[in-house]
């Protein structure tokens, strides 16, 4: 419940909801960069699982010998995990705040388009979080193979082979299609929203640019990520 009082003394920007939004936007920007790189790496599968595995190995070798083997990768992973934590924490905080900001709902649902968009971001974000766990378990942490046509010995420690084996299953592809559509929608609003939150959209031209960028990023990511699974499912990559 709000208290009808005027705050006294100095206030700091770091404790405002807008700062929280800026955190979300900055971490979101990092994810957009990461997702684009990830998508680019995935396309290596079209040159065979060897190319894919070489690329993956190369990531582990980055900045050696300044850093030890997998050093860069782990630094990046830590950064991503921290960012994910911040992004999700800010999102859940703002979400619960928004719920508290309107304890008594309207009898007639708001006709404004905004309500749907907000819901989409939040539930879409939750769905993406769940997918992320599944995805990491599947390909990074446990390297789970669901395809009975391949034995563990056949796959060896090649992630490329595991990818090909996994996406020969229609239901795995389906999970990824759903997840990528969710990701696309998240980016579609998120990229524009992040630009606005970072204060980059103060002219008509910059607003148009931000909207266009959001469309392009969302489209490129969805198509780029779904090309390999679909190609594998339809036997174009073996």
């Amino acid at each position: 419940m709000a208290t009808p009082t005027l705050l006294q003394g100095e206030q700091t920007a770091r404790r405002t909801t807008v700062f929280m939004k800026i955190l979300m936007a900055s971490t979101g920007a990092l994810f957009v960069f990461y997702v684009l790189m990830h998508m680019y790496g995935n396309l290596k599968i079209f040159f065979g699982y060897q190319a894919f595995d070489e690329y993956a190995e190369h990531l582990r070798e980055m900045l050696t010998p300044i850093l030890p083997h997998t050093g860069f990768l782990w630094l990046f992973r830590v950064l991503l995990i921290l960012s994910l934590f911040v992004h999700a924490y800010a999102a859940f905080t703002l979400w619960s705040r928004a719920n508290g900001a309107r304890p008594q709902r309207y009898a007639v649902k708001s006709a404004a388009k905004g309500a749907a968009r907000s819901k989409m971001m939040r539930w879409g974000g939750v769905a993406l979080l769940a997918f992320l766990v599944f995805h990491l378990v599947q390909f990074t942490i446990a390297k789970v193979n669901f395809n009975g046509n391949f034995t563990a010995a056949q796959l060896g420690d090649s992630t490329g082979k595991l990818v090909i084996a996994s996406f020969q299953l229609w239901w795995v592809v389906l999970i990824y299609v759903v997840a990528m559509v969710a990701l696309g929608m998240h980016l579609f609003h998120g990229v524009w929203s992040g630009a606005q939150t970072l204060g980059l959209t103060d002219s008509a031209a910059s607003r148009r640019l931000a909207h266009a960028t959001a469309h392009v990023v969302a489209g490129v990511v969805v198509i780029g990520f779904l090309l390999p699974p679909l190609a594998i499912l339809f036997g174009l990559v073996k």
Binding site: R15, A101, G114, T201
Partner: protein
Amino acid sequence: MNLTLNIWRQDGPEAPGRMVTYQLADVSGDMSFLEMLDVLNESLITKGEEPIAFDSDCREGICGMCGLMISGNAHGPVTTTTCQLHMREFHDGDSITIEPWRADAFPMIKDLVVDRSSFDRIIQAGGFISANTGSAPEAHSVPVEKRKADRAFEAAACIGCGACVAACPNASAMLFMGAKVTHLGELPQGQPERYARVVKMVAQHDHEGFGGCTNTGACADACPKEIPLDVINTLNRDLRGALGRGR
């Protein structure tokens, strides 16, 4: 035309509220929405029922006192204030649901009347330029670039009605605040306090219990004065500027 009206009735802040249905006949398209409610109230009084409380004052769309949620739309289906909405926008046989602005930071007073003093406190926190009476320099001593003057004016058109909060899925008041930050921040007179202002206002906004912004744009769509969404961008940018200046 004949209308069915579902109206929120609540005797006081602590009393339970409920939707009550009224039938109203012979509504003229020339009536404003509030005049339609006046007619309903006159008939209620005649029947011995207490009239429905709702806020309005200038009824010219400028004071910002009126504001109703009309079938899910803040100020109704067209871009204007409730007082300037006319019944010709509706049709015979329509059923209209009328609710108050709903937000934790707008506590209920009675029926369709809520307390928007949180807006005043946001202004108290920093929505001003400190210029004591008598201390002003000659008006022409500081020219203002026309583009900036126009943008300041566009933002200054805000009437403080609260439709942005009412329409926002998060009950956020960022459009209201962004309008003031933009109005004052675009002008040379507003520069000295620019970064302190945005921090204080946003802190008070959060303290009042408004939600955070998710850039849905529902506020700008509902705004009767068509304040553009980019004032929120300006607010965000100024807050980022404040961060960079160690505030």
